[in-house]
Amino acid sequence: MNRDMIDSNELLADPQNRAIWNAARREHLHVDVDRAWAELSDAIVGSPIVCRDAGYPLAGELRPFVPARYKYVGVPLAIAAALLIGFFAIKQIPNVFNTTQQTPTTKTYTTTPAQRANIILADGTRATLAPSTTINVTGRTVDLTGEAVFTVTQRNETPFTVRAGNTTTRVLGTSFAVRKYPDETQTRVIVSEGKVQVATQVLSAGQGVSADTTGQLTMLSDADVTAGLAWTGGRLVFQDTPIHEALAQIGRWYDVEFRIADSTVLARSSVTATLQIGAPTEVVLRDLAAVLDARVIRQGRIITLQ
């Protein structure tokens, strides 16, 4: 005897009542729970979007609802977070109360320096944003400034499109990273699963490409591909990377700014190093000093290398 009959034992002892009971069985309405969950996660991920530690769940096992792991980092970030919450509240309320409205609206998600965020988009696609990144999402089209990894949910024949710089990347269902910060001339696309099309070039898993401002494509080396996806595993990997690019990247992840005299030998060197994203800034700077054989002077968030 199943649970829902327990109280009705008395009533249901009668065979006619039992026949009525059985005949009255109605299934729940069919609703799209996956879509509903994607919408809900989309709506509430806006609040605890700020995170900094390496313990944060990473791409492939994204779970946006692990509040204990979020860490607010001081007053400035708390203010930024409050602004974000306000922003998302305004953006989300019309959606919460009118999901039947199908016209595509644009949603914006932003991370500040040293923040990462996991977002589930309305179509179920997961996006992991690196620091100092903004994405504008309209339906299945994303405009990106910064760097993000997308794990795309396949939906009919509608491709998922990411525009960054002058480069457009189209996919059907896959996982890939796109990077184009404002201070960079190259747009980089790296594929971790499936296939994507960058301009006219089709990339398979494990391949990456870099596009310059004229749209010229250059395949990335295996080492660059591995290094380019390392941040989703909690590490920053530099493989013979020009020092200015490496320092800009480290600056975004640790919210610091590097100063380096252009005339020095140091300014023309390159960096090969692996840094832990969750590590304290002091430890990172010490490692960096050792790798570059340089003196590191820290004044607040300004770091001078000599």
């Binding site: 006619q16 009542n17 039992r18 005949a23 009255a24 309405l29 509903a36 969950w37 509430i44 919460v96």
Partner: protein, 198 residues
């Protein structure tokens, strides 16, 4: 409440709560939005949420929240015509009178036709729809949503005895409607019972 359990809770209860609001409050158009809002609010106050709120289980809490949202929505939009809120006045001893039950139209009868289960189902389900709102709601919570009598009592803020009384009355009303079909079915049912008891 961890992220995982929140998602599980959502997936388990979302279709049921949407069904509850769509069917029992005739709010099919906004049911999904209302349920989304309930879970958004639940998420927002997850830190303050503790076992005290769940004394009677999470079911009554969620159904209670859903029905609260529905009644507020109906009040704010003055949708009295689609749902009579008076039957939810807790000060009233009972929303159902014998008259209401007697007024349920009887299903069409045609004894010469071989009655199939489909017809019985149709007749019973149509009759459930015509139960007075509170009786219908109690019936649905028990039959379709699997809430126990104590859980229903908590959800609606009424006594277990009221739940029991309403169920007894509802089934009596349904029996009346289903009688023509049951007359044909009865021997089969009895036979089936007999076979099972062997």
């Amino acid at each position: 409440m961890t992220g995982k359990s929140f998602e599980e809770l959502f997936r388990q209860y979302y279709p049921a709560l949407v069904t509850y609001l769509a069917r029992e409050f005739r709010l099919a158009d906004v049911a999904e939005d209302l349920v989304q809002t309930i879970f958004t609010q639940l998420w927002a106050k997850r830190d303050k949420f503790n076992s005290a709120h769940l004394e009677h289980g999470v079911g009554p809490y969620l159904y209670g929240a859903a029905r609260h949202a529905a009644l507020n929505y109906l009040r704010d939009n003055k949708l009295r015509n689609s749902y009579d809120p008076r039957v939810f006045d807790h000060s009233a001893t009972s929303g159902v009178t014998e008259d209401d039950l007697d007024n349920i139209p009887s299903a069409e009868q045609d004894p010469s036709v071989v009655v199939e289960h489909a017809q019985l189902e149709q007749a019973v389900q149509a009759a459930v729809e015509k139960l007075p709102p509170r009786a219908r709601e109690i019936w649905a919570l028990h039959r379709d949503h699997g809430l126990t009598y104590p859980e229903i009592a908590t959800t609606l803020g009424i006594s277990i005895n009221t739940v029991k009384t309403q169920m007894t009355r509802s089934i009596a009303a349904l029996r009346k409607v289903a009688a023509p079909y049951l007359a044909v079915l009865a021997p089969l049912v009895t036979l089936a019972q007999g076979i099972r008891s062997l």
